[in-house]
């Protein structure tokens, strides 16, 4: 009965179980964990690995090159989340393109990009659609709206990805997954339960300090019990079935394709592409974007970082050549990237 008084934080700080590798899949988790100084609470045998859950970090260099091509060669107006603006392409980032005169607009929502297109019929507007299951529905809604509005100058450059295949690819990298709460809000938790049955443990976590500490405490306690487990620690947002409406919407517009993840390589069936009926809204088809093979900087070890194979500080250029001001790899440019977090918060 005295155990009942232990807080989540006490459980974490007092953990004396076997060594455990916990992977925060979600970049926002990475960021919040650093911001809150949670790593400093961990005993040495608890290792936190920052996984591939930052869409910016896993988006391959070639995608930026495509966007720069559309902006500079096709004179398209690029609408994008702010996160992508400074990501280095093979030669140029979108910020570089903007400095050369490209029109780059930062939006909060794809809906705003569609609205801008409707209000500026003389411009060709392309929204850079990145992100996982949480973000994809927003892009889909904007395309449906464009169709309804009869807007023909709006399209998406799609690089959306889906998580299930990634979990499979990362199975061996961690003992426990800290699942990304907002992805699960869309996808539900069935897959997580399935993974637990297959021997892969995990907890769904929210994003406040208390939610993160609680999820970590749950993970540590259950891990010590020795059996694969799954706990939804974010039930106020995440339901077992997820969002059937969002799932239906994505199915209506998108279909799976093979997709390149920066550092992880091509994961079959892990990407999304607009279905044939919606191809008028597919920027690659609309503007006949030539196949572009982006060349990441060979010094960058983002891929290994994303798989937990090394720490950012193990990369030779970390903090010297590669800084948030002059990022070499995507993990340094995104606020959610592990390299950026290590640099900003001094690990």
């Amino acid at each position: 009965m005295e155990e009942k008084k232990k807080t989540a934080r006490e459980i974490i700080e007092g953990y004396q179980g076997p060594p455990v590798r916990i992977m925060e899949v979600c970049g926002t988790h990475t960021h919040e964990i650093f911001r809150l100084g949670i790593r400093k609470l961990l005993p040495p045998q608890v290792e936190l690995i920052s996984g591939p859950g930052c869409p910016v970090c896993v988006t391959p260099v070639g995608f930026i090159d495509e966007a720069v091509y559309l902006a500079l060669e096709k004179k398209a107006t690029i609408c994008t989340f702010g996160d992508l603006v400074r990501v280095p392409g093979t030669k140029k980032s979108l910020a570089d393109a903007r400095a050369e005169g490209a029109k780059i607009r930062i939006v909060y929502s794809p809906a705003d990009a569609e609205k801008y297109a409707a209000e500026h019929p003389e411009e060709q507007v392309v929204f850079l659609s990145v992100g996982f299951e949480t973000t994809t529905p927003a892009g889909c809604l904007s395309v449906k709206k464009a169709k309804e509005d009869g807007i023909s100058n709006y399209s998406l450059l799609v690089a959306n990805k889906t998580m299930p295949q990634a979990y499979q690819a990362l199975k061996g990298s961690a003992d426990v997954f800290l699942y990304p709460g907002h992805v699960n809000a869309i996808t539900g938790t069935k897959l997580c339960e399935q993974l637990a049955e297959d021997g892969v443990s995990g907890v769904v976590a929210g994003f406040t300090a208390k939610e993160l500490l609680t999820a970590l405490a749950v993970a540590l306690v259950r891990f010590q019990e020795g059996k694969p487990f799954f706990v939804n620690c974010y039930p106020r947002v995440v339901k077992e079935e997820g969002s059937p409406e969002a799932q239906k919407l994505m199915e209506e517009l998108m279909e799976p394709c093979d997709s390149e993840w920066r550092g992880l390589g091509v994961i079959p069936g892990s990407g999304l592409v607009l279905k044939k009926e919606w191809e008028n809204f597919d920027a690659r088809k609309k503007y006949a974007v030539p196949p572009i093979q982006g060349k990441p900087n060979p010094a960058c070890r983002c891929g290994d970082v994303l798989q937990g194979k090394c720490k950012p500080s193990d990369c030779k250029v970390f903090g010297k050549v590669c800084t948030p001001q002059h990022p070499v790899g995507a993990c340094m440019v995104s606020n959610e990237g592990a390299c950026s977090a290590y640099f900003m918060y001094g690990n």
């Binding site: 989540a8 926002t28 909060y108 609680t214 620690c233 974010y234 106020r236």
Partner: protein, 69 residues
């Protein structure tokens, strides 16, 4: 991934909701949620209300801890 924002619904009209997050208001899509009413809390991401939620993370975590121990 996916910065989410919990926000209170202050107005509803077909397919869209005006939400308030600590004094910042904006219109978001309500198309993924059927039955919203002013006063409800939602999780918002990229201009879309993706889930109806409770705003009380305290009680939820307390309960989880209770179950755990």
């Amino acid at each position: 991934m996916c910065v989410g924002l919990s926000a209170k619904v202050v107005k509803i009209s077909d397919g869209t909701a005006v939400v308030d997050a600590g004094g910042a208001k904006r219109e978001v899509s309500a198309q993924l949620l059927g039955d919203l009413e002013p006063g409800d809390y939602v999780m918002v991401h990229a201009g879309v209300a993706i889930a109806k939620i409770t705003d009380d993370d305290e009680e939820e975590t307390d309960q989880l801890m209770e179950e755990l121990l």
